[in-house]
């Protein structure tokens, strides 16, 4: 599972970085979206990979940390997803405004 996850993150990051340095605004925004998926997976993996483990402990019971999944990265990922979604939406608006004002989808606002 570790191999699959790290390969997935690697593929997402490499495609994301490649798209990020492309000259068209649409490519840049897709690149940013792919990068943010990769980062979200990465945060998730930092809580160690566990399957079929509950993240919430029961009160009053003796706790063995090894039998639980770490809940903090899950909460962090949730926040990061929401913030990433909002900023991507905002970027999309700017992208359209730039397209409308300059008449081109080049990131510099003019064709080279």
């Amino acid at each position: 599972m570790e191999l699959v996850l790290s390969l997935a993150i690697g593929v997402l990051v490499s495609s994301g970085v490649w798209l990020l340095v492309r000259p068209r605004t649409y490519q840049v925004i897709i690149g940013l979206a792919l990068l943010s998926y990769a980062v979200n997976l990465f945060i998730f993996s930092m809580g160690r990979l566990r399957t079929n483990m509950p993240p919430i402990v029961e009160p009053g019971v003796e706790i063995d940390p090894a039998a639980f999944a770490d809940p903090v990265p899950q909460a962090l990922v949730l926040t990061a997803i929401v913030i990433g979604f909002a900023t991507t939406a905002l970027f999309l608006v700017i992208l359209l405004a730039s397209r409308g004002l300059t008449g081109t989808d080049h990131v510099d606002g003019r064709e080279p």
């Binding site: 913030i83 900023t87 606002g109």
Partner: protein
């Protein structure tokens, strides 16, 4: 519900949040109402931050901790006020009031929701200064950035949208680096609370130390983008030039947020007691800061427009601060903090002043001004000149004097605070063992001394040239029409720097105490880790 002084700590976040949200309910045409609400909340912010400053300073380095949700630390979210965060809060509020007043004259009508975005920006800034854990730092950073994206585009136009596109793309990429850094640090240490991290980092084993340092390095890059370290700073002058004048004035403190975080985290995580990782990254700050300083100084010399001159001055200020922090020496840091306050006030005033000066130079560029003052209205305006605008003959003189003061401040000449700040940094650098003691001055220090003096010279040359071009060269240049409410904020900020000069002794002592508590972070760590939880009050209990 009883509001005790302990709740003051969260007030700098709650006040702008509530006021900003409240303003959304009013129509954008009710400008007077919106402006008064936001100016009132900025004044409240100033009062609260000064109260917090007093608490943190007279408490002998004791930190005030606010536990949200009342969980025992280091679990969950907490807010921490010490001297450094308090001075940054005060600085933010001090910059916010003039920028808001300036915007009332004209700019706040140039687009929708100016005041709401402005207040949310203040909330993000205050939150970033107050928070005690890394992930909330990310959240407040994003609040600040999201508001800044809106403000950056305030007034619209192709130039702003183009600059804004670059600004947003770069900051989104930097935010991703921020998250990677936070995740790596969490993966190694299992905590995100800054005080708890300071305890755990010395105990990190040899095998995972590399992971930790990689995480800290990636996290640092995110802040260095914000602070404008060369070569991560090419976006900064363009963005700051494109932003509307009051927006650029408050943006002056945004690059200082990166500096603040780097100062706080590098000393908390990698201070003298950090074991094998002590001093991690200080060379990057030192040499990167010097490169930024050189780049900024050359940029200042090369700038043909006033806006770019101011943009590169931001880089000079960032470079000076980063390099001084990189030397990791208490009295240099104290001087750097003084410089931080002085240069932020100067640059903020300068951005607003530029707009007033350029108004006279290029009438075509200021369509807004033309539409607001049709020629026929000039006769009527003359009569109420006393109330809303200052007399025309004095305008150029006032602008010229303010411009000269800005030049003196940027160059770091006496009698203003820029001189004292640079003098404090240079003195500390040339006396590494303390005043009058023998100490070895490193080659890096000599280089930094030379660069600091060179940057002052370049600012002086560039400002003299720009001043001559703006005030003396135009033969039939039109005199800009400047409202009282526009020049008062600029003058107030410049008078504040004069006050800093007069009160340099007490201010410098405060900065030394601040630097001292940064280099001995044990009271901070203990204060957070042993923060008392609030006792839930019994329902219906008396007193």
């Amino acid at each position: 519900m009883q509001m005790g002084p302990e709740h003051l700590v969260i007030a700098p976040i709650v006040i702008p949040l509530v006021a900003g949200a409240l303003l959304l309910f009013f129509d954008d045409r009710e400008r007077r109402l919106k402006a008064s609400i936001s100016a009132l909340s900025a004044a409240a912010l100033l009062a609260v931050s000064i109260a917090l400053l007093r608490i943190s300073h007279y408490g002998d380095g004791r930190v005030a901790v606010y536990l949200l949700g009342n969980w025992p630390p280091p679990i969950a979210i907490n807010l921490v006020v010490d001297r450094l965060s308090a001075i940054m809060l005060v600085l933010t509020a001090v910059l916010a009031i003039p920028a808001l007043l300036f915007s009332i004259a004209r700019w706040h009508g140039a687009g929708p929701h100016f005041h709401t975005l402005f207040l949310f920006l203040l909330m993000g800034l205050n939150g970033a200064f107050l928070t005690g854990d890394l992930f909330n730092l990310f959240v407040f950073f994003e609040v600040m950035l999201a508001a800044s994206y809106g403000l950056m585009l305030h007034g619209s136009g192709p130039f702003r949208v183009r600059a804004g596109l670059h600004y947003i793309a770069i900051n989104l990429a930097a935010s991703l680096l921020f998250l990677i850094g936070v995740a790596l640090i969490y993966g190694v240490t299992g905590t995100l609370n800054m005080a708890d991290l300071a305890i755990r980092i010395p105990q990190v084993g040899e095998d995972s130390r590399m992971m930790l340092e990689a995480g800290a390095g990636i996290l640092g890059v995110a802040f260095l983008v914000k602070a404008g370290l060369w070569p991560l700073s090419f976006w900064l002058p363009t963005t700051y030039t494109a932003a509307a004048a009051p927006v650029a004035a408050i943006f002056a403190i945004m690059s200082k947020v990166g500096v603040y975080i780097l100062l706080r985290l590098s000393l908390l995580f990698f201070g003298a007691s950090a074991g094998a990782s002590a001093g991690f990254g200080s060379e990057v700050l030192l040499y990167g800061g010097m490169a930024t300083l050189a780049f900024g100084a050359i940029g200042v010399l090369a700038s043909q427009s006033l806006g770019r001159l101011a943009g590169f001055s931001v880089l000079v200020s960032s470079g000076t601060l980063l390099a001084s922090i990189g030397l990791v020496q208490g009295d240099i840091t104290a001087g750097a903090l003084f410089y931080l306050v002085s240069s932020t006030l100067t640059i903020s005033a300068f951005f607003m002043l530029i707009e007033l000066v350029e108004r006279g130079q290029d009438a075509a560029a200021n369509v807004l001004a033309v539409t607001m003052e049709a020629y026929g209205e000039g006769e009527e305006e003359e009569e109420e000149e006393e109330e809303v605008g200052i007399a025309i003959p004095a305008t150029l003189a006032v602008l010229g004097v303010s411009f000269a003061v800005c030049g003196i401040l940027l160059a770091g000449l006496p009698p203003f605070s820029g001189f004292i700040a640079k003098f404090a940094i240079l003195t500390a650098m040339l006396n590494p063992g303390g005043l009058g003691e023998q100490g070895v001055i490193t080659p890096a220090s000599w280089w930094l001394v030379a660069l600091l003096i060179f940057s002052g010279l370049s600012a002086l040359i560039a400002m003299s040239r720009a001043g001559i071009r703006a005030f003396w060269a135009p033969v039939d240049g039109s005199v800009p029409r400047v409202l009282l409410i526009e020049i008062v904020p600029v003058a107030a900020l410049l008078l504040l720097t004069l006050a800093l000069t007069v009160q340099a002794g007490p201010v410098m002592r405060f900065m030394e105490a601040t630097a001292g508590s940064l280099y001995a972070p044990q009271p901070y760590i203990d204060g957070v880790m042993e923060a008392p939880r609030a006792v839930p009050r019994q329902k219906g209990g008396e007193e």
